[in-house]
């Protein structure tokens, strides 16, 4: 930090009064109880983690803490004083701010204008004084060491820059308590590191954070205390150091959950090679040659710019490859043709389920059977009975929480949506299953189910490619290919150590330095 950000105006940090205290909050939506007698206390200057599975009541708590909704029962206090009335948005903004997963930046306006939206600097005649607004924006970002040109349109910001800008904007309202709602979900490892550095910096300057994440590792890395919610209730609040990982997961799920690391039956030595990628060159320049045998789970690991996703998309035909061949079970796939890949037996869980994975308004049944119209009908007509039967099977196999196959996927939680995407990939009984970041933004239990499915699939002789930088995803692999800057730089057999893999993804070799 080059410039020292301002200290909070009222006293030194850690003066005992909690920044926010919510007591016995109850909130119902119709017949659903979203929060039941739930409490949380966040102390000044700490970074407090809030965890819980999807549906535990985290989002409801956030909307009550930020004054977007009123609690049916219970009280919220900031600095020991009762919260302002809901209508007084300015008063709320001075106390608390939330950086949501969904952007609250207006992409068509400049960064400067986004920072001072509806409170533009004004000159004579009430007209906006653009140069003064720009200077104020530059000073604000400089004061918090956010290195962004304020004159660029906000649409050009990366996810990470966008979050920094939103944090700076929150701070400029005077808020020194910031809620981060799954800030790391869309960031790569390097971006997460920079975000954490920033959070630690701000904490040193008296900013308090409530950090919501599905990644327990991040909580141990960053947070001081953790609060667990489950089934709309407060379960436990404890210093992170005093809560083991097992205990934390147990508190979240109400039972002991271990990631399916299970026994890895070694591949039969005579398992035939199913997928063979020769000298593949993607349009972005990444180059890969690899093979996968029947029943083998191969991981492709790498950081944000490693080209792992591009390689996967080129293999399944989502993007046109610039060179090389992809052969699946003796059949050469046509470059850039998804229908050909589907026909050859490729199942795909794409990177972004919202963009490529789902049609949100259509039902589970329609989404699951989208790739296999011939299996749910004859002569080009779709039989809804057959479709629903197929979907019911998927719902049962993947433990999707839904009342039936007719439920639109937009009504499902993130974890269940991802299961629908997985169901769609599996609907065709693929010979090759390609999973791109399959557990991004899903809760612990769904993650367990999704990864458990992979184990079933491989037993049936399907080759699986897991493309991810998430260690839990990669742990189920027989071997992991590590990509760095568009090349495969290493291969690790099952049983690798976390440090080695992370180091390799960052382009560092721990053993030959």
């Amino acid at each position: 930090m080059s410039a020292a950000p301002p200290r909070p105006t009222d006293g030194p940090s850690g003066d005992g009064r909690p920044v926010v205290e919510a007591v016995s909050i109850t909130k119902r939506f119709g017949s659903t109880v979203a929060l039941s007698d739930a409490s949380i206390v966040v102390r000044r200057g700490e970074t407090h983690a809030l965890v819980g599975r999807n549906g535990a009541g985290k989002s409801t708590l956030v909307s009550i803490l930020t004054g977007l909704q009123a609690a049916d029962d219970g009280a919220v206090a900031f600095d020991g004083r009762p919260a302002p009335p809901l209508a007084d948005r300015d008063a709320w903004r001075q106390r608390v701010a939330c950086v949501y997963q969904k952007s609250t930046i207006i992409p068509t306006l400049t960064v400067a204008e986004n920072l001072f939206l509806n409170r533009h600097a004004r000159g004579p005649g009430g007209l906006i004084h653009w140069s003064r607004l720009r200077r104020a924006a530059e000073q604000l970002l400089a004061a918090w060491s956010v290195d962004v040109d304020v004159r660029q349109p906000a649409s050009t910001l990366s996810v990470e820059q966008r979050q920094f800008v939103e944090i700076a904007r929150a701070l400029s309202f005077g808020a020194r308590f910031i809620i981060l709602d799954e800030p790391t979900a869309q960031l790569d490892a390097a971006g997460i590191n920079r975000l954490f550095t920033r959070i630690r910096d701000l904490r040193a300057h008296g900013v308090t954070f409530l950090f919501i994440s599905h990644h327990l590792q991040e909580i141990y890395e960053l947070c001081d205390r953790v609060t667990v919610f489950r089934d709309a209730r407060h379960i436990v609040t404890a210093p992170v150091a005093e809560l083991s990982r097992q205990e934390l997961v147990a508190a979240m799920t109400g039972e002991d959950v271990t990631m399916p690391e299970a026994d890895h039956p070694p591949l039969p030595p005579d398992a035939p090679v199913l997928l063979s990628v020769r000298d593949l060159v993607t349009s972005s320049g990444a180059q890969v040659s690899m093979e996968a045998r029947a029943g083998e789970v191969v991981g492709i690991a790498g950081g944000g710019g490693s080209g792992k996703v591009e390689v996967a998309e080129a293999i399944v035909g989502l993007t046109r490859r610039a060179g090389g061949t992809v052969t699946l079970d003796g059949r050469v796939l046509r470059p850039g043709s998804v229908p050909d890949a589907l026909d050859a037996g490729v199942g795909l869980v794409p990177q972004d389920r919202h963009r490529e994975g789902l049609v949100p308004l259509l039902s589970i049944a329609e989404n699951v059977t989208m790739t296999v119209p011939d299996r749910v009908g004859r002569y080009g007509l779709i039989s809804s009975a057959r479709r629903d039967a197929l979907a019911r099977g998927t719902i049962a196999d993947l433990a999707i929480k839904a009342s039936g196959p007719q439920v639109p996927v937009s009504d499902l939680s993130g974890g269940n949506q991802q299961k629908v995407v997985m169901g769609r990939a599996l609907a065709s009984d693929p010979k090759l299953l390609v999973l791109i970041t399959p557990t991004a933004g899903v809760d612990v239990r769904s993650k367990q189910t999704l990864l458990g499915v992979v184990e079933d699939v491989r037993r049936r002789g399907t080759a699986v490619l897991v493309v991810s930088d998430e260690l839990d995803d990669l742990r189920i692999c027989d071997r992991v290919l590590v990509m760095f800057q568009g090349r495969i730089v290493g291969e690790m057999a099952h049983g690798w150590s976390d440090n080695d893999l992370v180091a390799a993804m960052e382009g560092v070799d721990l053993h030959h330095v």
């Binding site: 080059s2 410039a3 020292a4 950000p5 301002p6 200290r7 105006t9 948005r89 300015d90 001075q94 969904k102 952007s103 609250t104 930046i105 207006i106 992409p107 068509t108 306006l109 400049t110 204008e113 001072f116 939206l117 509806n118 409170r119 533009h120 600097a121 004004r122 009430g126 007209l127 906006i128 653009w130 720009r134 200077r135 104020a136 530059e138 000073q139 604000l140 400089a142 004061a143 040109d149 004159r151 660029q152 349109p153 050009t156 701070l171 400029s172 309202f173 005077g174």
Partner: protein
């Protein structure tokens, strides 16, 4: 400006000097505003080669006057488009507002039974503007209050208002308009028709309001991301409502100008104009998805369209081909702005 900000910036010990290098993206954003200027110059050069009359002051005034009414409609549509909505009914308001005024004011004895002579002449202009405001408020009621789709609502309004005008006029043309209605459309101020002054003044006001006032910027914020705008404390419903009312009042005023110029209100006044209005706005860089575009850009769009039409007329292109060429000009202008702007025009 919040006081927290000033304390935040004041107490920072040494804020690094702001980057001084001009940002490329900003330069491009500015340029997009001026994107059509080279095209306008090119058309002017071609026009003067085709016919030396083109650059004469008489012809320039002729072009400006012929575009002034449509230009005000384009301004109105631009305001609505920037909020991410659209208003198709503007073309019917353009005819109906002066039509209702004429209907209430005109003496049936002079016009073979058309009109009611129910109000004194002096009421004509206020009635025109009031009809515009009512139409806009009704659009707002359906779109903002009831959350109906703006395209369908204003399509329905387009048909209903046109039908209303045809009904009250019996499909005929109102004439023998009072002097108060014809004044703005026919007067000349400082040697230039008043309608040109008015349209230029309105565009200047539009540039200032949309570029330099919080309420104007609120239109962009709403069009860009309505949730974020609401979170920033903008009363999004109210702003949308006002935008729709202002647009309809502008359309009514434009209708008054053309009625004054022609000294008549035909039942079909403005019919079909909305396509040209959309074309001019989009060519001028206004996004149909909201949040992007400028009043100046919209002005260059409508100016370019009318200059090309004028050049074609001067070149002696038969009138039967005008529509064909109009359509072609719109498509070519879109392709050109796609190539120069680099981004898809939406």
């Amino acid at each position: 400006m919040s006081e927290t900000l000033s304390t935040a910036t004041a107490s920072s010990s040494s804020p690094p000097s702001p980057p001084s290098s001009p940002s490329r993206s900003l330069a491009i954003a500015r340029l997009r505003d001026l994107a059509l200027v080279p095209a306008i110059i090119a058309v002017a050069i071609v026009g003067s080669i085709v016919n030396p009359v083109f650059l004469s002051s008489d012809n320039i005034i002729n072009v400006l006057q012929s575009m002034s009414e449509i230009a005000i409609l384009v301004l109105a549509q631009t305001i609505v488009l920037i909020t991410g909505k659209m208003d198709l009914s503007l073309e019917s308001t353009f005819g109906l507002a002066p039509g209702i005024a004429a209907w209430l004011v005109v003496d049936p004895a002079l016009t073979r039974g058309l009109g009611l002579d129910a109000l004194p002449d002096a009421w004509a202009v206020p009635v025109v503007l009031l009809v515009g405001a009512l139409v806009g408020a009704f659009n707002g009621l359906l779109i903002v209050r009831f959350g109906l789709n703006g395209f369908i609502v204003t399509l329905g309004m387009l048909i209903i208002l046109r039908g209303l005008l045809t009904g009250i006029s019996g499909g005929q043309t109102f004439f023998a308009l009072p002097e108060s209605m014809t004044y703005l459309g026919s007067a000349t101020w400082f040697g230039v028709p008043a309608s040109i002054w008015l349209s230029l003044l309105l565009f200047a006001a539009g540039i200032v309001v949309l570029g330099y006032t919080r309420s104007g910027r609120a239109l962009y914020a709403i069009g860009g991301n309505v949730d974020a705008a609401r979170a920033a404390g903008i009363r999004t419903d109210r702003v949308l409502w006002i935008a729709l009312v202002v647009a309809s009042v502008l359309a009514a005023l434009a209708g008054l100008l053309i009625s004054g110029r022609l000294a008549a209100v035909p039942a079909a006044q403005g019919s079909g104009a909305i396509f040209q209005v959309f074309a001019a706005a989009v060519i001028g860089g206004v996004s149909l998805n909201g949040g992007r575009g400028s009043v100046f850009g919209a002005f260059t769009g409508v100016l370019l369209l009318f200059m090309i039409i004028n050049v074609l007329t001067l070149a002696g292109v038969p009138a039967q081909w005008t529509n064909f060429l109009n359509g072609a000009v719109i498509l070519v202008a879109l392709v050109v702005s796609r190539i120069t702007g680099g981004k898809a025009q939406t």
